[in-house]
Structure formats: structure tokens, C-alpha cells
């Protein structure tokens, strides 16, 4: 049981990293990764929303949608729930942590339409995870997002001081660096299953 959880957790972080292997959530990955500090707070927000969204969508799917045979409504219902949740979290953060609210700024509402969040909730269902497994998977996906963001913000920090050819400055070199970072994560394929053998 514990071993399975650990495998799900580390698979979500390394082999199936949401950004670098599944290519979900590229928008914040490119948009907020300039500074490690904002990358960190964005990742924390995404992780938080992922876990809470899973906690909300999993019961809705399994106890309401499945019961009435309405699995085809999955996408629309999940989007509805995630949008409302993000709003709720935004209100709560504004109330309880104004500095975090300032730091996240426009990016918190953007999580509403973040495919990584929708992706993790949908994948939890399609993998037929239990609620506990789903939560672990979501948390792992969030941590994986954090890892990718932190690595990439480091890469971008290095690039700032590089002499980049004019034609590649800005977004082009960022995309090239992102693809190379994604390549490095290919190396993790097959590792996790053997980690806890």
C-alpha cells in the first residue's frame, strides 16, 4: 500500500512530470519562470489548487456522475468546479495572505484555465485511482510542477547573463531551453518502478 503510494508520487514527479513529460501547464511554465521567487509561489498555488480540485472533483465524479451515467459531462463539470475553487482560493488568499496575493497577481486567476489542473483531475479518473491515490498523484503532480519550475527558473537565470544571438533572444531561446530541460527528464523513464523494488 505504502509502496504503491510512493510509486504514484514519484512517477508523477519524475517519469510523468506534468510539464516536462506530459507538456501540460506550459503557460505558467514559460510565463512565471523568470524569477525563482515567483516561480515558487506559482508552483505552490498550482499544487494547492491541484490537490483541492482533486478532492472536490473525485467525489463528484464517482458519487454523482457515475451514479447517473453522466461521465460524458466530466469536462464541463470539472471546469465549473475548478473555476469556482480558484475563485474561492483567490478570495481566501486575498484575505489571509496579502503578500502572497500580490506575488501571484494575475497568475492565480489564470490557474482557472490551466490545463495541468484539469489534466490531473481527469487523469485521476481515467487511471481509476482511489481517492487517496488521486490525492497523492495530484500532490506529486504539483511537486513535479514545482521541480520543473525551479529547475527552469535556474536555467533562465543563467541565460540572462549569456550572449544570445539576436534572432533567438526572448521566447525562442526560452523554448529551446525548455525542450532541452524536457529531454533531461526522459532519462527518468523506467527508474521509478525499480526504486522501491
Amino acid at each position: 500500500m505504502m509502496k504503491e503510494m510512493l510509486i504514484i508520487f514519484f512517477t508523477a514527479i519524475l517519469t510523468n512530470n506534468f510539464v516536462l513529460a506530459k507538456f501540460l501547464g506550459i503557460c505558467p511554465f514559460l510565463g512565471v519562470s523568470k524569477k525563482p521567487s515567483t516561480a515558487f509561489s506559482m508552483s505552490v498555488a498550482v499544487t494547492l489548487v491541484m490537490v483541492i480540485a482533486t478532492a472536490a472533483t473525485w467525489p463528484v465524479h464517482n458519487y454523482i456522475l457515475v451514479k447517473y451515467g453522466l461521465e460524458y459531462l466530466q469536462t464541463i463539470v470539472f471546469i465549473l468546479i475548478i473555476a469556482a475553487l480558484v475563485q474561492l482560493i483567490e478570495t481566501a488568499i486575498k484575505k489571509f495572505s496579502p503578500p502572497l496575493y500580490q506575488a501571484l497577481g494575475i497568475y492565480l486567476p489564470l490557474i482557472t484555465t490551466n490545463c495541468a489542473v484539469l489534466g490531473v483531475t481527469v487523469l485521476n479518473i481515467s487511471e481509476s485511482y482511489t481517492l487517496a491515490e488521486s490525492l497523492v498523484n495530484s500532490f506529486g503532480a504539483g511537486i513535479g510542477f514545482l521541480v520543473a519550475m525551479m529547475i527552469f527558473s535556474g536555467v533562465r537565470g543563467r541565460m540572462e547573463s549569456c550572449d544570445i544571438p539576436k534572432a533567438l533572444q526572448g521566447l525562442p531561446i526560452t523554448l529551446i531551453a525548455a525542450s532541452i530541460t524536457a529531454l533531461t527528464f526522459l532519462g527518468f523513464g523506467g527508474i521509478v518502478e525499480n526504486l522501491f523494488a
Binding site: 447517473y68 469556482a84 478570495t91 481566501a92
Partner: protein, 262 residues
């Protein structure tokens, strides 16, 4: 009847979410400076950035915090400044409305391109090729970078030269920075006359490239009784503080490039 079940379920989920959000916004409401909201409401919402802040929201916050001048909103002009002044309890004085003018009248009928340009359809790119396809190196190339950047759709390229609709123009000045030839200027709305040419070459040189270029003949300077028109570097300029709008320079100009308003 079967359709009712999914409809009811989705509606119910939406309702639960909605009730939850409205409860949250009630119980978790944060007291903000209400002047920010009020100032934001009177701002035009163009988010043009002419004030130097990130947008209308940023400007409103800066005003409420006492960090910004009240009169920096160009699209809003005097009315907005007055409304902000009322909210902030300060007198803003006199604010002049502004709009942009294109200082070039070289359309396709009076000037020709010195070569055919087949590159990117952008002034910024075209200006890099032998300082642009227009035979006049000062003039409008008519590729419309200004029109593309304008948020009010106030600029259109007509017959090869950009034209500003001053009714639509908010005076934000984005076109001024977008133009690689610096041929657009933002002027006060009460300006009475404007010279629509920037060619600072000698008359003979100007004549070679454009039929309506300023040749620096000094006729306008001589005919002006108020000393408002001066010719420097073979191009005329009107001092709007001295100009009364009599229109004599417009009549005297052999190239018909001085335009008197009203």
C-alpha cells in the same frame, strides 16, 4: 425526460459553487481603499499605459495611494481628470485634450517609392532597408505600424500615408513610439495650425522626392503677423502659443502643407 437529469445535476453543481462563492466573498471580503474603485470607474478603461502605469487599475491604485498626478490620463482628458479630482478632493486645474497628427502629407499622388519593398509588412522592418522604401527619408512609409498599435482604431493608412481621426484619437502617444520615422506628434486639441511635413532637406532636394514637401521658402514666416511661424532647417513649425489661427500661412504656402484647424 432523460435530458433533465444532467441539466439538473450541472445546474445544482453550478448553484452550489455560486452560493459558496457569494458566501466567501461576503465573509472573506477585504476592505480596500474605496477610492481605488471609484477612480477606476471614471477612468476610460483603455489600459493604454499613457499614464506610465500598468493600466487603468495600476493608475487608479497609484492615485489613491497619492503617488500619481491626477492629470496623466490622456484618453480621458479634462473630464476624467475633473472626475478624479472630485473623488480625491483636489482641484486639477486646466487639462488640455490631446490628439496625434501625422506630420506628412506625402500620399501616392505626390511622392513615389524609390524601390519596391517586398519584405515584412511593417514600418519597423521596412525602415531597416536603406531607410525605407519611401523616397522621402523623413516621410510616412504607409505600412501602418501606427494603425496596428492604436487601441481606438483612430489611424488608417489612406493612399499610402497614415491619417489620424482626431475624434477617435485619445492622445495616448503609442503611435509616436511605434513610428520608426518619428513622423507622428501628439498636439494639444486647441492647436490652431500644424505643418504636415518634416522634411529638413533643402528645397531643391525636397522637390525631387515629394510634390508637397516643405521647401523652406519662408513665405509662411514672412506672412505671419504674430511671429508664430518659424522656418528652421528648411522646415516650418508653428508656435501654438502665438498662433491665432488667421490662416494666412495656409494661403501663402505654395506646397499646401500648413493646415489650419476649425
Amino acid at each position: 425526460m432523460e435530458i433533465l437529469v444532467p441539466v439538473i445535476i450541472v445546474a445544482a453543481i453550478g448553484l452550489v459553487c455560486g452560493v459558496m462563492l457569494s458566501l466567501a466573498s461576503h465573509f472573506l471580503a477585504v476592505k480596500t481603499d474605496e477610492r481605488v474603485e471609484k477612480v477606476r470607474e471614471v477612468l476610460p478603461g483603455a489600459n493604454c499605459g499613457a499614464c506610465g502605469y500598468t493600466g487603468c487599475d495600476g493608475y487608479a491604485a497609484a492615485i489613491a495611494a497619492g503617488e500619481a498626478e491626477l492629470t496623466q490620463c490622456a484618453p480621458g482628458g479634462a473630464e476624467t481628470a475633473k472626475a478624479i479630482g472630485e473623488i480625491m478632493g483636489a482641484d486639477v486645474g486646466d487639462v488640455r485634450k490631446k490628439y496625434a497628427v501625422v506630420m506628412c502629407s506625402g500620399n501616392r499622388d505626390v511622392t513615389e517609392n524609390k524601390f519596391d519593398y517586398h519584405g515584412l509588412n511593417s514600418c519597423a522592418a521596412a525602415a531597416l532597408v536603406a531607410s525605407g522604401p519611401a523616397s522621402c527619408r523623413y516621410g510616412c512609409m504607409g505600412l501602418g505600424d501606427c494603425a496596428a498599435v492604436c487601441q481606438n482604431d483612430a489611424i488608417a493608412v489612406v493612399n499610402g500615408v497614415a491619417v489620424v481621426d482626431k475624434e477617435l484619437c485619445g492622445g495616448c502617444g503609442k503611435c509616436v513610439t511605434a513610428c520608426p520615422k518619428q513622423v507622428i506628434r501628439v498636439i494639444d486639441a486647441d492647436s490652431r495650425a500644424v505643418v504636415t511635413c518634416k522634411n529638413a532637406d533643402k528645397g531643391a532636394e525636397t522637390r525631387k522626392v515629394c510634390k508637397t514637401g516643405c521647401i523652406g521658402c519662408m513665405k509662411c514666416q514672412k506672412v505671419c503677423e504674430y511671429g508664430a511661424v518659424t522656418v528652421t532647417n528648411f522646415v516650418a513649425a508653428v508656435d501654438n502659443d502665438k498662433c491665432v489661427g488667421c490662416g494666412k500661412c495656409e494661403e501663402a504656402c505654395p506646397q499646401h502643407i500648413i493646415k489650419v484647424m476649425q
